[in-house]
């Protein structure tokens, strides 16, 4: 459905997006993940035909974004970073305007506006002026306008920004509902968001794709190359001797001393390691105050992939 090949966007000498390639199948939900300034918005703007790339191509539903911009735009619903709203219009009028602008057939406009209002739960504010709505409601109107033309492709730039936790959950449910019917790309820096909604994630950092995979296999690959879990230990008093002992335990990958009395021990995830750690700490007699084990989550994957010293990870174990 969406094909991106060698996309590059330079602002002067600075490359905001650097030779990115990926493709999205019909009905797929893909999350763009990356820290601030990674190039997520830039990539989305190019796909929507908002601006041209410096080099490379993008196509949507077989239409090249630059050769056939109108065909592409007709098929895309786009929520920019700042929702494009006319304050002096009511929610209903605004959605009707967007539907007409997107060249929706006359006969379908009324029902599509209803559907968009219903899906984003704007029923109670439909007759209100947009300028009088709260930020969260405006964000929902923004999502609503992306949906209103019933586009094949939805491109949502940080769709849950500014929403309260309940709304965030509702938007995620909405995206899950839309899955299959629309092809969706959404960007976010919030990990639970992709965990909750996306089938596949593309992690971008400094304009480059550092990882692209389904959620599970991404997690799995990182665990294989790195650590599968981390054991936190708090002791009465720390000693270098203890650290050396901990490092000797089979299955331990790294030991770090934090805050004078806490150790963080990366392990391969096998059960026995935590037991062995407990044994070592107890026999060393430093006083075991706390011990807990946490599985690695996507947050760690993300941090590992986007902190520069770990970028080699991609070339090494990940791909």
């Amino acid at each position: 459905m969406i094909e991106v090949r060698g996309l590059t966007k330079s602002y002067g000498p600075h490359k905001a997006v650097d030779h990115i390639s990926f493709s999205v199948r019909k009905g797929e939900v893909v999350g763009f993940l990356g820290p601030n300034g990674a190039g997520k918005t830039t990539t989305m703007r190019i796909i929507t035909g908002f601006m041209p790339p410096t080099s490379g191509t993008a196509s949507v539903a077989g239409f090249d974004v630059f050769e056939n911009p109108l065909e592409v735009k007709r098929r895309i619903g786009y929520l920019p970073e700042t929702p494009p709203l006319y304050g002096e219009m009511t929610v209903e009028d605004y959605l009707r305007f967007v539907a007409r602008l997107k060249k929706v057939e006359r006969s379908r406009i009324a029902s599509l506006v209803e559907r968009a209002i219903e899906k984003t739960q704007l029923g109670e504010v439909r007759k209100r002026l947009i300028q009088n709505l709260s930020k969260g409601y405006r964000q929902r109107v923004g999502i609503s306008q992306a949906l209103v033309s019933d586009p094949e492709v939805l491109i949502l730039d940080e769709p849950t920004v500014g929403l309260d936790p309940r709304q965030v959950a509702e938007v995620r449910t909405l995206i899950a509902e839309l899955k299959g019917h629309h092809t969706i790309i959404l960007s976010t820096h919030i990990l639970p968001e992709v965990q909750a909604t996306c089938e596949r994630i593309i992690i971008i950092n400094r304009g480059k794709i550092v990882a692209e995979d389904s959620l599970e296999s991404l997690g799995r690959r990182v665990s294989q190359s790195q650590a599968a879990s981390r054991v936190f230990v708090r002791v009465g008093r720390a000693s270098d001797d203890l650290k050396a002992q901990l490092q000797k335990i089979g299955g331990v990958r790294a030991v770090q001393l934090k805050d004078a009395d806490r150790y963080e021990i990366d392990t391969d995830g096998s059960k026995e390691v935590a037991q062995a750690v407990a044994g070592v700490v107890v026999t060393s007699g430093v006083g075991l105050l706390e011990l807990r084990e946490e599985a690695f989550n996507l947050e760690d994957v993300f941090l590992k992939l986007t902190t520069s010293e770990e970028s080699q990870l991609k070339e090494g174990a990940l791909t």
Binding site: T48, G49, F50, M51, P52, P69, L70, E71, K73, R74, I76, Y78, P80, T82, P83, P84, L85, Y86, G87, E88, M89, D93, F97, V98, R100, L101, K102, K103, Q145
Partner: protein, 258 residues
């Protein structure tokens, strides 16, 4: 072109629900009313004096068109320059500030459609105001003193010229994000248009003079007001509209490449 009408109807709607239109047209009507009524009173006084002096003798009286309507329409023209700049300043600056420009640029409409849409909305608003200005002379028809020919051709001239002011205003609006800067730019451009006429009077070279005279807005408007609808006048004003609309289109198109 359908996209142009969709954008135009949105803009017209937003202009007519905003207080700006009513404030500006209220102020304009007040100025016009004051000037028109004092001029009319003056005219009635003068012509009755003349009637008394020419007692018994046959008298044609003073032509109301030249003493009342003509100066009034000149005033309408002057005010339109400012009023049109005020309406058009926000047509692009607001879209840019609200980021709704992103919506237009990612919608399946061309840059030309966007600009034509803005032009239709601006011209519609300007003509609504012009209609208010034209109401004052029309009121004279009740007294049977109306000379419809020159009045109609004056209105045609003003309608065309205000469309040119709109095109200029929209162009100014496309250049900046600030409504204030847009107004100032629009006024500067309009003043420059009118200054071409001053150049004509200054120039010594004969061919140069005739060329510049063809570009003289004031000269063309005078002709319309005298009741002469000339093809060159119509073409001149339409080409102003076309020129500035074309320039605006180029600006909008270049915004896509940034």
């Amino acid at each position: 072109m359908n996209g142009a009408f969709i954008i135009a109807s949105k803009d017209l709607r937003n202009i007519f629900v905003s207080p700006l239109f009513y404030v500006v047209s209220g102020i304009c009507s007040l100025i016009w009313f004051l000037l028109f009524s004092s001029r009319l009173a003056d005219f009635i006084f003068q012509s009755s004096m003349q009637m008394m002096q020419s007692q018994g003798r046959e008298s044609g009286g003073l032509p109301v068109h030249f003493y009342v309507i003509f100066p009034h329409l000149s005033m309408v023209n002057l005010i339109m320059i400012f009023a049109v700049s005020a309406f058009t300043m926000r047509l692009f600056t607001e879209e840019k500030r609200n980021r709704t420009f992103d919506l237009l640029l990612t919608a399946p409409v061309t840059s030309t459609e966007i600009v034509i849409g803005k032009l239709i909305a601006g011209v519609g608003t300007a003509w609504a105001l012009l209609a208010i200005g034209a109401l004052y002379p029309v009121s004279l028809a009740f007294f049977g003193a109306m000379d419809w020919g020159p009045f109609a051709s004056s209105l045609l001239g003003l309608a065309l010229l205000s469309a040119a002011y709109v095109a200029v205003g929209i162009f100014a609006s496309s250049l900046t994000q600030s409504a204030v800067v847009a107004v100032v730019l629009a006024l500067v451009f309009n003043v420059m248009l009118w200054f071409v006429g001053v150049l004509a009077d200054r120039s010594s070279d004969a061919t140069e003079r005739t060329i510049i005279e063809h570009l003289n807005v004031g000269e063309h408007l005078q002709n319309f007001m005298k009741g002469n609808v000339s093809l060159s006048g119509v073409v001149f004003m339409l080409s102003l509209v076309f020129l500035f609309t074309f320039l605006t289109r180029q600006v909008v198109e270049s915004a896509r490449w940034r």
